[in-house]
Amino acid sequence: MSDLTSMTLAEARDAIRAKKISSRELTGAFVTAIEKARPLNAFITEAGDAALAAADAADKRIVAGSTGALEGLPLAIKDLFCTKGVKTTAASKILGNFIPPYESTVTQNLWDAGAVMLGKTNLDEFAMGSSNETSAFGPVFNPWRANNSNANLVPGGSSGGSSAAVAADLCLAATGTDTGGSIRQPAAITGRVGLKPTYGRCSRYGIVAFASSLDQAGPMTKTVRDAAIMLKTMASVDPKDSTSVDVPVPDYEKLLDGGIKGLRVGIPKEYRVAGAAPEADALWDKGVEWMKAQGAEIVEVSLPHTKYALPTYYIVAPAECSSNLARYDGVKFGYRAEGARDITDLYERSRGEGFGPEVQRRILIGTYVLSAGYYDAYYSRAQKLRTLIKRDFEVAFEKCDVLLTPATPGPAFAVGAKTTDPLEMYLQDVFTVTVNLAGLPGIAVPAGLTSTGLPMGLQLIGKAFDEATLLRAAFAVETAAGFKHSPAKWWSV
């Protein structure tokens, strides 16, 4: 059955349409693979029985002539998307038993197109982390291991369950969310594709909020083509999200093959940072050569405020987090502490017991930077920096159509390697966080293996709402890189 689970989304779609396989066969293969892969801890909730029932329903619709874009295709959903009647935890104890009475718009779009849900994937608690180690449901292990090593590595974060599930062939594709790099970083260090669309492209309705001005949903897939297929269905204009932007959603898949002859590719010199692995820079140089060889014009550009992006993010994101997470009070839903003396005690203890250490740290940072006397020095200044960072991109995009950068400062690292110093963990997002602050689309594409046999990716950044050009450029990089590696299935014996 391994040939079924190793198919790309596009291959599976075509096979189902040609009636070569049924959704039942395909879904069954994934349900079995997920059960065998429990040592990876990629899923918080497995939904095997419901998935098989949904597959049968899809098969009936296919017989009746349905042409849904994702008819019968099994997907994994990050456990940050509310799914009606299916537990949605955000990997937090405080939402440990939460069963949403409504469906997120992005997942509803997927089901309307005929997709099948295999389960809900693990993540960093409330999507706050870069290694999936802050989850209240335990860490996820990267399917990849270094050559001749049995050490467990992190799958990245926050969408670490989704990245592990895609890399380990536990689903055709998965959803993720990206606030500072949470789709692109885990995709890059598991050797797969991760796309963060433009802010406003996908509705945020029904996605557990972390930092509302930065959060954006996107696909995590095996190929760029699959990302194009997923985005077309995930994106929509939604009256339930006032920040969902009213722009047409093109058929990205049809626009992939145009080639990049004459495309102007910007290389931001500030993305050569101290502390990045030499292999990150070497891969970047290779990427430049690949694009040049296909007729792209390489342009050096400058994004002078790049080094301020991470500190800006660590003011803006915690500020929004402290405000968004104020709703968890032990009253209307979620965890409630036992035996509270009074209402304040109920709030304080429900939150103190329900939130994990990283979430608590960010709530405190956010509360501090928004408090009287510090608002101007921290929050207001950070929002001004954000204006400058966005302006850097606007100036750069006068000279180019897309930007090419490294995706992460290094490959996957060992579980526990970066948990003692929060700042060291935060540096994982050094190449991705600027894109969220500027609201732009970005994609991580697998580009090569390190000398130790671990995958690394390249990032492409596009103009706002120009995912079509971004995907076309990513397709060119993917084709040139020819990355066909998959991890050895050590967990499935």
Binding site: N97, F98, I99, P101, Y102, Y199, S213, P239, S242, T243, V245, D246, K307, Y308, P311, T312, Y314, I315, S322, A326, V331, K332, F333, Y335, R336, A340, R341, D342, I343, T344, L346, Y347, E348, R351, G352, E353, F355, Q360, R361, I363, L364, I365, T367, Y368, S371, Y374, Y378, R381, Q383, K384, L385, R386, T387, L388, K390, P422, L423, L437, G439, A464
Partner: protein, 95 residues
């Protein structure tokens, strides 16, 4: 600016977050590490720069002021850790 134990206690109170006494000191250290790093933003000249309010240039949407949803008390209270007859139950608030 340096965060001490009392500051952590004060912001924890503002955030309605029970932080055990033994965690106050270590948390002050962690926050100081972060705020020292963030200090670098002070070196940028931001005079005349407008703080960002929206990352995408778009007008806020308007809609007609009418009821679009409602009558779902069951669903609204379904996840309440304390609930009775569509009410949320909390400890006594008024003596």
């Amino acid at each position: 600016m340096s965060v001490d134990k009392d500051t952590v206690r004060r912001i924890a109170k503002l955030a309605r977050l029970a932080v055990p006494e033994s965690r106050l000191e270590p948390m002050a250290g962690e926050l100081n590490g972060l705020f020292q790093w963030v200090e670098m933003l002070g070196e940028v000249n931001v005079e005349g720069v407008v703080p960002m309010t929206s990352v995408v240039a778009q007008k806020l949407k308007w809609r007609e002021d009418r009821v679009t949803d409602g009558g779902q008390a069951d669903a609204v209270t379904a996840n309440a850790p304390g609930g009775e007859d569509h009410f949320f139950v909390v400890p006594k608030v008024v003596e």
